[in-house]
């Protein structure tokens, strides 16, 4: 099986450790992924803002770059949803693209990747992963098999963190209030870490947590799964 | 207002020259589970919405002095405006939701079932139907082409939760809704 990595632009630039973690987990499962280095961005920022014509060439480019692979795997529910559900709205048929946890659980049938991470963890359901890709149980199944990890559900786990792409800077006061509410729920769990499938959510939550000097850390699910 | 009518319909027709794609077809599976024992289910639902099932009619009526009635079984002695209790018949009763269907034909007009602070429905067990679909089918059969001018599906006493989501009974309509099975 030829697997390609789709590393979203902000993961590439700001959270490379998430990509590295994903590669390490895949290798542990004896999968050697490829990384077409020409890749850049899926086009979601332009699309979401209403500039479909500007997003379309990026969608077409994605298809060219990832042509020929059995699976494209990405550590982002939101970019995966963009490719899978929104490229057709642009008239572009995408190659088979999977979010990382979806790939592990639904495609490979794996829930135990041999990870160990003894800590109290709570999980945030990233909106696109949850509602566009239907991933509710899969990330939790993976977390439950991590040795030493205690998973504590937060109230309103499914409520949006407030990132929403350009929404975060177009309506920063609403975005921040949403982060504040989310952080309140996170704190109520007593968890040391909040984990999610999307670095965009984690960037939002982390930015707010650190500004408020709250000692809860954010981690991408791939990073937890890579830990041993 | 004929010009407005023609303009609106013209705009509608122009818009509808293109039909929107239909949604995904329903499967045909039942939306609601079947109703096993309609009378028992009705009683359960009625009680759940704080309606009352009357065991003894004389005892129930004892606590009311002024009664407006549209049924022979209970003689009335007051007008709708001054009544403490309105007594009416009904079109049918619905097990699925514990609802009573009243109409201008069965309930002495529009106001008798809603103005007095208490409402008693005299019904027969055979009038209980399983669900809303059955009730509407029954009414359509009974009244197609000559409907009463008003019907109401009444489920429990009148209520509001507008203030702090606190349930209060008897907002504008009856505070008590009771059903007596005469047969």
């Amino acid at each position: 099986m030829r697997v390609a990595l789709f590393i979203p632009c902000f993961v590439d630039q700001f959270f490379p450790q998430v990509g590295v973690a994903m590669v390490n987990v895949l290798r542990r499962l004896k999968i050697e992924p490829e990384f077409p280095a020409d890749q850049t961005c899926c086009g979601q920022p332009a699309f979401n803002t209403g500039f479909w014509d500007e997003a379309r060439p990026l969608a077409q480019r994605y298809c060219e770059i990832f042509a020929g692979y059995d699976a494209v795997v990405s550590p982002s529910g939101s970019c995966t949803a963009m490719v899978r559900h929104f490229y057709p709205l642009l008239g572009v048929a995408p190659p088979a693209t999977y979010e990382f946890t979806e790939f592990l659980v639904k495609h490979l049938g794996v829930t135990d990747v041999g990870a160990a991470f003894p800590a109290k963890v709570t999980y945030h359901d990233a909106c696109h992963a949850l509602r566009e890709l239907g991933l509710k149980d899969e990330p939790r199944q993976l977390l439950r098999h991590v040795r030493g990890l205690e998973l504590i559900e937060m109230a309103q786990a499914e409520t949006c963190c407030g990132f929403g792409g350009t929404f975060a800077v177009k309506f920063p006061f609403i975005s921040t209030a949403m982060a504040d509410l989310k952080v309140t729920k996170i704190r109520e769990t007593g968890a040391e870490y909040v984990v999610s499938t999307d670095s965009s959510c984690l960037m939002q939550l982390d930015g707010y947590l650190r500004r408020q000097k709250i000692p809860i850390q954010t981690l991408h699910l791939a990073e937890v799964l890579a830990a041993q | 207002m004929n010009a407005a009518r023609e303009n609106i319909l013209a705009r509608v027709r122009a818009a509808l020259r293109v039909t929107a794609p239909p949604p995904a077809a329903p499967t045909g599976q039942p939306v609601f589970p079947p109703v096993a024992d309609p009378v028992a289910r009705f009683t359960q639902e009625l009680t759940a919405v704080k309606g009352e099932l009357v065991a003894s009619l004389p005892e129930f009526l004892n606590s009311f002095r002024l009664i407006a009635s549209s049924v022979d079984l209970v003689p009335g002695n007051a007008s709708v405006r001054e009544a403490e209790l309105g007594v009416t018949g009904c079109e049918c009763l619905i097990a699925q939701t514990g609802s009573v269907v009243v109409s201008t034909r069965t309930s002495g007009g529009r106001a008798m079932a809603v103005w007095p602070p208490a409402h008693l429905v005299i019904a027969r067990r055979e009038q209980v139907v399983p669900d809303l679909a059955a009730a509407l089918a029954l009414l359509q059969h009974r009244y197609a082409g000559h409907w009463p001018s008003q019907l109401s599906w009444v489920t429990g006493p009148s209520r509001t939760s507008d203030i702090e989501k606190t349930l209060v009974l008897g907002a504008h309509g009856p505070k008590r809704l009771a059903v007596y099975f005469d047969a």
Binding site: D12, Q13, F14, E34, F35, P36, A37, G43, P45, A46, N48, T49, F51, R56, P57, Q60, R61, E64, I65, H128, G162, F167, V169, F173, I174, L181, G207 | M1, R11, V12, A15, L16, A20, P23, A24, T27, Q29, F32, V49, Q96, T97, G109, R110, A111, D131, L132, A133, L136, Q140, S149, S152, W153, R159, T160, S161, I163, T166, A171, H172, G173
Partner: protein, 486 residues
């Protein structure tokens, strides 16, 4: 920035920072969700119900001319009158004219977003006709001079103490801490109004084409009193309220109730089909339906967004929306708020003035998840954005797209962005900018050498046949694709 957007930003910011408001909303919405969770067990197949409602509404809206004509014919056959209003102003004037001709001095009114939309009460007040709101929540809003806060629960934002203070002030009522007593105060007061009103005005939840009846749902009983006691009943009905058959209500009623309040069915569901008939002891002498367009045909003409007209005004999307929960209803400054309001308001009231509303969303999709008629509300928000996107932002995104289409330009942009923190004030006002990592992922990958023979990285290097025109689903303009020589 236009006035509506300024107002929105100002008021949304105030509410977003108001923790008391947040606590009230959280409490109320928590109760709502608990009720809905309990009510879900009544359904064998909720999604089947949604699919059926979606289909009925699709039929009704896509054959709206036929059903409107059938409805109007049947209203007339029942002894009622039908008026057609192209605009909200026209509708208000029709009712005003009718009221004048019939010597109406006082009107009692049931809750109706449509009557809000046409600004009926101010129009009547300007003509010296008193219109009393009879729904408890609306009555309180009227006394306070505020618009309703939410489609279904108008005073979601007020406490018992707030209401008591209002009643003391405006009605001279004694103070009380009891929701029950407050309700009884309103009941007693409003009974006087029901008895002395000349006209009752309602909206309608549904208009049944087959029978010419309107369907009205409520819990309080004030709607029944409104159409029972005064001598004239007027119903203002948006043209999108049409449903084909009476039998359709068997599913609309319970699903509307469940989504709206978690109930199995709303306390009273009425079918009104005309004035009192011969032999009926009471009821209005006249029944008037005012059919309202007011921009609905514009939305109808937009085929991609037409199904926004399927909305049955349950309010579920408001309750699900994290933005609505943060800023509340008033901040929108529109009749229809929350997700569906953001979708339809630009169509009903003007795309440019209201272009900001569809952007005030994180596109989380919770709205579509709860909609009982399967409207893909969040997809509509994207469409709305597409309808208005332009101006300098288009240039900015063209530049951005140009930058990220080339890997080298993209890399430089990335380096720049990682240092941009201190300049991204809109983010850094309230959140820390992420720390710049020492290297990007691709830097790491390129340094890594997992195999003795490095894998070819690009499609060109892999020697794959270039697709000059990627597989498409048709219907969309391809634009210029990348065509590199192999």
């Amino acid at each position: 920035m236009n006035l509506p957007e300024q107002q929105f930003r100002r008021d949304a910011a105030v509410k977003a920072g108001d923790l008391n408001h947040r606590a009230t909303i959280q409490r109320n919405i928590g109760l709502y969700h608990a009720a809905v969770a309990r009510g879900k067990t009544r359904f064998a197949d909720w999604n089947e119900g949604r699919a059926r409602l979606a289909q009925v509404k699709w039929d009704a809206i896509n054959h709206l001319d036929r059903y409107l004509e059938q409805f109007a014919r049947n209203v007339l056959a029942n002894g009622g009158h039908v008026h057609w209003a192209e605009t909200g102003d026209q509708a208000a004037q029709i009712i005003l004219g009718l009221a004048r001709r019939r010597g109406v001095r006082k009107i009692v009114k049931a809750k109706s977003m449509t009557t809000e939309e046409i600004h009926l009460v101010p129009a009547l007040a300007a003509a010296g006709i008193q219109a009393v709101e009879t729904d408890l929540g609306e009555y309180i809003c009227q006394l306070r001079g505020e618009p309703p806060y939410h489609i279904v629960t108008p005073v979601m934002h007020l406490s018992r103490q707030d209401v008591s203070r209002t009643f003391q002030e405006k009605l001279g009522a004694p103070p009380t801490d009891s929701a029950e007593e407050l309700t009884m105060i309103a009941r007693r007061q409003l009974r006087q109004d029901f008895l002395t009103a000349d006209m009752g005005v309602t909206g309608a939840n549904f208009a049944v084409a087959e029978t010419g009846q309107i369907a009205l749902t409520e819990n309080e009983g004030n709607i029944r009193l409104t159409f029972s006691l005064p001598r004239i009943h007027v119903a203002v009905v948006g043209i999108e309220k049409l449903v084909p058959r009476v039998a359709d209500l068997a599913l609309f009623w319970p699903m509307l109730a469940h989504s709206g309040t978690g109930q199995a069915i709303t306390g009273t569901c009425s079918l009104v089909g005309g004035p009192r008939r011969d032999g009926e002891p009471d009821g209005p002498e006249e029944f008037h339906v005012v059919l309202l367009d007011n921009g609905r045909t514009r939305l109808l003409a937009d085929v991609a967004q037409r199904d926004a007209l399927h909305c049955i005004r349950c309010g579920a999307c408001l309750n699900a929306c994290p933005v609505y929960r943060t800023i509340g209803g008033h901040a929108y400054h529109t009749t229809y708020m929350g997700p569906i309001g953001c979708v339809i308001t630009p169509h009903l009231r003007g795309r440019d003035d209201w272009a900001h509303l569809p952007y005030a969303s994180s596109l989380c999709g919770a709205c579509a998840e709860v909609c009982p008629v399967n409207i893909p509300v969040h997809r509509h928000l994207l469409q709305n954005r597409r309808n208005t996107a332009g101006g300098w932002q288009r240039l900015a995104f063209k530049f951005w797209a140009w930058t990220v289409q080339d890997p080298l330009r993209y890399r430089w942009a990335g380096k720049f962005l990682r240092c941009a923190g201190p300049f991204a004030k809109l983010w850094t006002d309230t959140r820390e900018w992420p720390a710049a990592p020492a290297q990007s992922f691709r830097d790491w990958w390129q340094k890594q050498n997992p195999h003795p023979n490095p894998l070819p990285y690009t499609a060109r290097e892999r020697g794959l046949k270039k697709i000059s025109s990627p597989p498409s689903l048709g219907g969309e303009d391809q634009g210029e694709g990348e065509s590199r020589s192999s």
